[in-house]
């Protein structure tokens, strides 16, 4: 083996220019595949982090909510949800895995801004949450993407009337000036002939909400939220808008409202039993997801609970779509690079066999078996592949390090705000090893064809070769 590799290495060095060209092709293949792979891995990590920060790894719903709950979130409330959370949180298997467990309430309704000269209203998609738990969830960064949002005091456990709205919704409701939002145009004046909501109705709604909140938060921008309770009666609450937060998708941006859970429950359940539509569970480590989900299902089954568990990938189909898209592009690039390496190595090794035909005859005459000849050329292909892939990996490390330190930012799919552009090459040993092994394997297999030709040569014909 030592002799085999020694001869292989020396032959590679002997044909420096040819070896350099072939090795460069392998290195370029490794470089391109690793850089894109690092980028794709970073996107996967970013998407996962974004989702897990937002909704956790797993969410427990009332059975049927996942399929039908969007039409009537209030109708799928989890009863005695504190008991369910205690059951989950105290489970000896789940407890060490869980980072945050928090209830949420989804709701639909109409938001209106009837203060001053405004009389705008808009349907909204709301979520009630516990602000301190939201903060803890947003600090999750197991995959070290560096995209941890800054601490946000606009939602607070202490003030149950304060909420955040989507940037688009703020614009639609005419809150740009009140919230001092940049790049947010004010609502234009409507012509006199345009239909306007009844001022009497607006005043009534405003008065109703003021009574409901007991006249607090006077002076702060606030909106009225109208929704149907579980019993079907209309209910109104007032929300003090503490800020606007851009959402990644325009439809959500134009409809989004986040508010403290008690306010959402008050709106949906009124004086009835307060329930939640989901219990979000954020784990310390994503790799525990499968075990945690299985354990949750066991708990639900053993306690005869009418609940269902979904993971973040199911709840955000975009995550799976993006992962599949980037995976396909990555495979395509890897395939193209593999084909280039294949042809480069076949060409080089074929030339090597032709040039060394007499040498093949000589060492066969000396007693080297056909298999020995085959291994000799396969070893050369392997070595070219290994050297080229190693050089490519080293280059990829350097370029990735430069890009990562350049402070570039971009807005990834599913994000509303720019995040640092990062190439996850160094932190992805599995990717590096897979690309290295893949390219070396291609180079080795490519060498097999000419190596077999060399092994099949007749000794006498090889010795006659000039």
């Amino acid at each position: 083996m030592k002799l085999l590799l020694k001869i292989a290495l020396r032959n590679i060095l002997r044909n420096r220019r040819r070896s350099l060209m072939t090795g460069s092709a392998v290195a370029a293949g490794a470089l391109a595949t690793l850089l894109f792979g690092g980028f794709a891995f970073y996107i996967f990590a970013g998407l996962e982090t974004n989702n897990v920060q937002r909704i956790g790894h797993l969410t427990v719903f009332r059975a049927g909510y996942f399929l039908f709950g969007a039409g009537n979130p209030a109708g799928y409330g989890i009863e005695r949800y504190h008991d369910v959370m205690t059951l989950i949180g105290n489970d000896p298997v789940l407890q060490p895995m869980i980072n945050v467990i928090t209830p949420t309430q989804s709701l639909l309704g109409i938001a209106g801004n009837f203060s001053g000269d405004n009389d705008a209203s808009k349907t909204f998609i709301g979520v009630g949450l516990i602000p301190s738990n939201r903060q803890r969830m947003r600090r999750w960064d197991e995959l070290r993407t560096g995209s941890i949002p800054p601490a946000d005091s606009r939602l607070s456990d202490q003030d149950e009337t304060r909420g955040l709205i989507g940037f688009g919704l703020a614009r639609i409701l005419g809150l740009c000036r009140a919230l001092a939002l940049q790049n947010c145009p004010s609502v234009p004046e409507l012509p006199e002939s345009a239909d306007k909501p009844s001022p009497v109705l607006n005043e009534d709604l405003g008065e109703l909400a003021r009574r409901d909140r007991g006249g607090n938060s006077a002076g702060a921008p606030h909106i009225e939220l109208l929704a149907a309770t579980v019993g079907g009666a209309p209910n109104v609450v007032s929300l003090t808008v503490s800020g606007a937060e851009p959402q990644a998708v325009k439809e959500l941006d134009d409809n989004y409202i986040a508010m403290p859970l008690p306010l959402a429950q008050q709106l949906v359940y009124g004086r009835g039993e307060h329930k939640v539509t989901g219990i979000e569970i954020q784990l310390h480590r994503s790799e525990d997801l499968r075990v945690a989900r299985a354990r949750l299902n066991t708990l639900i089954r053993d306690n005869h609970l009418d609940l269902d568990v979904r993971d973040f990938a199911e709840l955000t189909p975009f995550y799976g779509q993006a992962v599949r898209l980037f995976s396909v592009i990555f495979l395509f690039i890897a395939l193209v690079m593999g084909v280039i390496v294949l042809f480069a190595v076949v060409n080089t090794m074929t030339m090597n066999v032709m040039e060394r035909t007499n040498e093949i005859g000589t060492i066969r005459a000396m007693g080297v078996r056909r298999g020995g000849i085959r291994w000799q050329f396969v070893a050369e292909g392997w070595l070219i592949g290994a050297i080229g892939a190693s050089l490519g990996a080293a280059l990829a490390f350097m370029i990735a390090a430069l890009v990562n330190r350049a402070g570039l930012t971009w807005v990834p799919p599913g994000n509303a705000n720019p995040v640092p552009l990062h190439l996850a090459v160094i932190g992805s040993p599995a990717l590096v090893i897979a690309v290295w092994i893949g390219l070396v394997l291609v180079a080795t297999v490519a060498a097999l064809l000419p190596a077999n030709s060399a092994a099949r040569l007749s000794v006498v014909d090889a010795l006659r070769h000039v």
Binding site: L3, I7, E359, T362, I363, A365, M366, G367, R370, V459
Partner: protein
Amino acid sequence: MASALAIATPATPATSASMAVRLNQVARTYRAGTIEVPALKNVSLEIPFHRFSMVIGQSGSGKTTLLNLIGCIDAPSGGTVEVCGQNVAELNDDATSDFRARNIGFIFQSFSLVPVLSAYENVEYPLLLIGTPPAERRERTLVMLQAVGLAEQARQRPNELSGGQKQRVAIARALVKGPQIVLADEPTANLDSATGASIIELMRRVQAQSRTTFIFATHDQQLISHADELFSIRDGKVVEHRTEAGR
């Protein structure tokens, strides 16, 4: 100069063969398209062990074909080839390779050294093929290089050696494993006459020391005087066999 006794001597043949080579009605025909070209025609001969045998004939007479058959790198179209008592036809390809590795050394007209290996490594190569232990390998390699007068050039690559030096390395490589038979096909053809003479002298000397069976093919009539056994070949047939008296 190394002790003559230190040069590897051939092991005792596995069989009780009395002859190093025995050819019985051996024919070899090459095919060029639809034309068949007979290179050897029903040749029968016996070459004894421990002799310096010479096959002499004009270019195209069949010398190289004969050596190829004896060296087990070619197969006859007819007849049987026995080398060291082994019917070569009974061996498969790998077994034939192993047989060559243990029993036969080759010296080629064009030296045919492995260009990426040093003189030392070229000589060591056959020992690696037969699994000689490292310490013994090193000792035998150095002794052979000393025997051919190239101890100083051990680290040099073939492209740094003269033609005569290359052929000395080739001789050392052929002899280092202590083969039963060394086949030399026109080993002086690419050398000037003085160098060629020194190579013949060297081969004669190491043959005498090692008692290896040498079979030497040449077209050069002037070399006849070196032969113990002489086989003249013409048009694929052995036309004369002469044993030199007193040798």
